[in-house]
């Protein structure tokens, strides 16, 4: 007989700890948007960029006859993956280890940062080159390394722009989408040592300046840190897809490669790449295929990095997985198609979300990873409301994540977690009125009193808080004298409907001709 083992009390898995990493802004979405909306340059940059990417995406997804089937396949593979995440992760660990890599498990961002720091310190280097990575952005790795005296060089062009400007990314795929070429020229002139002071803002010249600067970093830095787009459980293969070739440099030139991967990035089989390598580039950059797809399995003697470490990051993902409805958000492959079609993102920009993950998917992923605090002004609690639920994101998502439904679900979780609020009381009151037809009819009559506050033109131009934001740019019609039901119950209503029925019958008779009159 085996001895019973005490497993402890079941508890919800932890979220990303409060106050760590980049999963919470410093103000609510409406407050942040208030400032961002005043930035006309940002609006123009974003509008131009998102409209261009939208058109490209529609062209390359529309040309595939099996695009919808691919989306279904992507969704099914991801759902299956989440349903058996623990076994797939253990399989991935075994295969990576077998191939000469070392796997580390990080419960949260702080643990992952410590692991990476220790690994870098072991190499003796005080510099690392980086492939653009959402996971390391999420945990604030660069800042942590800097605190430990290690300089991280971003090598993706847009990430470099953001880093040199001491700015934050505002888009998953195009981190500097909020910058135009003139701003970039200024950033390069101030931030790249020895750059030509006459540098102009021609894109090719800007790229060449970055290339010259980065080439030296690639050739002299012995450690690289990357993220991963996919990790294949079946073979232990990791993959990064990119456009600039900087990733290929980072993944092949240094002695040591450290990859930080969110645990939801695992895929069961190598063959699954067939689906995702079609879905991802077409959805993200609007290209049929991205220029560079790097795949590596552990360590190959004499070829590429001789030390490979994989850091598997939880940081709230298991908490999201525990949510029956919310776990769908873990299916995200970070293509950013939802950002590019989102009318809210287009106006407010990525910084308004306060998180590494902006836009519609950010509004569902961020609160799930880092939680929504019950305090009234927690920025993350405002994110699920930063959407009109227009549904453009759902249509664009390559793995069919029902983002509008997830937003509604998170709003429900939020209202359930908060105590009494003025809004909750108002909602209860509204439901109480709507739930009692007699009271509703009386309230309807009372609404007619709104005519009193309206001007002579029948418009209400000013409303008290919290409706003042509405009335700042919209007139509201005064309620009419008579509701529909009052009209319907009136002699006028009855005769109007009778007249309509008679008119219709007459028209049909004329159209059908006398022969069919008897029908």
């Amino acid at each position: 007989m085996s001895t019973p083992t005490y497993l402890g009390m079941p508890a919800l898995p932890p979220r990303s700890p409060y106050g760590t990493g980049n999963l919470r802004g410093d103000r609510t979405f409406p407050r942040a948007a208030h400032d961002e909306l005043r930035n006309g340059q940002l609006r123009r940059n974003l509008g131009k960029a998102t409209h261009t990417i939208r058109a490209k995406r529609l062209a390359v997804t529309g040309e595939l006859p099996d695009w919808e089937a691919l989306r279904d396949a992507g969704s099914a593979i991801k759902t299956d993956t989440m349903n058996r995440l623990p076994e797939l992760l253990e399989q991935l660990e075994a295969k990576v280890t077998e191939a000469g890599g070392t796997v580390h498990w990080a419960r949260d961002g702080a643990e992952a940062n410590d692991i990476v720091t220790r690994l870098v310190q072991q190499t003796g280097s005080d510099e690392v080159i980086k492939v653009k990575s959402m996971a390391t952005q999420e945990i604030g790795l660069n800042e942590h390394l800097a605190d430990q005296g290690i300089k991280a060089h971003e090598t993706d062009l847009a990430e470099l722009i953001v880093q040199l400007a001491d700015d934050k990314p505002s888009h998953i795929l195009v981190p500097a989408i909020h910058r135009n070429r003139d701003e970039i020229r200024e950033i390069f002139r101030a931030g790249i040592p020895g750059v030509d002071p006459e540098l102009d803002s021609v894109p090719a010249h800007l790229a060449a300046a970055a290339r010259a600067y980065l080439r030296e970093k690639f050739l002299t830095t012995p450690v690289a840190v990357s993220g991963a787009n996919f990790g294949i459980a079946e073979t232990g293969t990791l993959s990064v897809v990119e456009s600039e070739g900087n990733g290929r440099m980072c993944l092949t030139l240094p002695d040591t490669l450290i990859t930080v991967m969110g645990i939801e990035k695992v895929l069961p089989r190598y063959a699954d790449l067939e689906v995702f390598l079609q879905l991802l580039p077409r959805s993200s950059t609007g290209e049929r295929m991205n220029p560079y797809t790097s795949l590596w399995t552990g360590v190959t003697p004499g070829d590429g990095p001789q030390n490979f470490h994989l850091v598997l990051l939880d940081n709230g993902r298991t908490a999201a997985l525990a949510d029956r409805i919310g776990r769908q958000a873990l299916n995200c492959i970070r293509c950013s198609a939802c950002l590019n079609v989102c009318p809210v993102y287009e106006r407010a920009g990525g910084h308004a979300y306060g998180s590494t993950y902006p836009g519609p998917i950010g509004a569902v992923v961020t609160p799930q990873l880092a939680g929504m605090d019950v305090s009234a002004d927690d920025p993350n609690s405002s994110l699920p409301y930063a959407s009109t639920l227009c549904g453009a994101c759902y249509d664009a998502c390559p793995v069919k994540i029902d983002i509008p439904s997830l937003l509604v679900e998170l709003r429900h979780q939020h209202t359930e977690a908060t105590g009494r609020t003025a809004e909750k009381l108002a909602m209860k009151a509204a439901a109480a009125v709507m739930g009692r037809p007699g009271v509703y009819r009386a309230a309807q009559k009372a609404a007619g009193l709104g005519r009193v506050v309206a001007g002579r033109d029948g418009k209400i131009s000013h409303l008290p808080p919290p409706f003042n934001g509405w009335s700042d740019s919209r007139d509201t019609p005064a309620p009419p004298k008579r509701s529909f039901r009052a009209w319907l119950a009136s002699a006028e209503g009855a005769s109007a409907l009778r007249a309509a029925a008679e008119e219709g019958a007459r028209t049909r008779t004329e159209a059908d001709g006398p022969d069919e009159e008897e029908q």
Binding site: W470, P477, R485
Partner: protein
């Protein structure tokens, strides 16, 4: 057909002319209308704002009032309310209801239609003898477009209207920025979206911007009124109900037209 008419709380209270037009239209097509007097609201605002317990009585009320098997179809002049019945009532019933409510909801969901899909899909008509000699542009509304997938149906109805000058709305599928309580909670972002929508609407030179949802029209119309634009908003049903014998007369001020 015996049709249950759901006026929607917004239509019943603030925009009765759109519901009247819907009733007149259906009567003219020879159908019998039933108006369950205890109907109020579908509960969409509650669910979309995060409240799912509170609207349980509304969901139950809807299922009871329209559950009568003699009602063959439930029709409403609102894409978002039809979307709420078809997509949200099940969620509420599943979470906070009992087996009876879940069954009742499933029954009414299956026979609930937004006006344009009812006309085109169920009745199989596109030309309903309407006459509207004005320049019109059509805003498809997000829930009609992406939740109900009404597609071209409203446009097919509009194209069949006699003497209409139907002009395409640029970036028609972009949200107007309403989103229910979004327009209150995120009023500034909403206003920025509205400004772009209004620019596209007024750019068409249309006398009327139409849609299948009074809530979106309240938003667009409220904005057009504020900037004193020449374009009015008018529910799709009001255009379709306008005939040569009883034509719709365009009012002088924009807000009047929304009513």
């Amino acid at each position: 057909m015996r049709i249950g008419l759901f006026a929607t709380c917004l239509g019943d209270t603030l925009f009765p002319d759109a519901v009247r037009a819907t009733a007149v239209l259906l009567a003219r097509l020879g159908h019998e209308l039933v108006f369950p007097p205890d109907q109020t609201c579908c509960g969409q605002m509650h669910v979309n704002t995060g409240y799912q317990r509170e609207p349980v009585p509304l969901v139950r009320g809807f299922a009871e009032q329209f559950g009568d098997p003699s009602i063959e179809a439930v029709v409403m002049p609102s894409g978002s309310c039809a979307g709420s019945v078809r997509h949200q009532h099940g969620i509420v019933a599943e979470r906070y209801g009992d087996a009876a409510l879940r069954a009742g909801v499933a029954t009414v969901q299956a026979k609930t239609y937004e006006l344009s899909e009812f006309l085109v899909d169920v009745l199989g008509v596109t030309d309903i003898g309407a006459y509207f000699p004005h320049r019109v542009t059509y805003h498809p509304t997000c829930h009609s477009l992406r939740l109900l997938r009404v597609g071209e149906k409203p446009l097919r109805l509009l194209r069949a209207v006699e003497d209409i000058d139907l002009v395409e709305l640029p970036e028609a599928d972009a949200c107007c920025g309403f989103g229910g309580t979004f327009a209150v909670k995120n009023a500034e972002t909403s206003s920025a979206m509205l400004a772009d929508k209004m620019r596209h609407v007024t750019g068409t030179g249309a006398a009327v911007c139409t849609a299948g949802d009074s809530s979106c029209l309240m938003h667009i119309g409220g904005g057009l009124s504020r900037i004193e634009a020449g374009t009015r908003t008018l529910h799709l049903a009001q255009i379709l109900a306008s005939t040569r014998t009883s034509p719709y007369v365009l009012p002088s001020t924009p807000l009047e037209a929304t009513r």
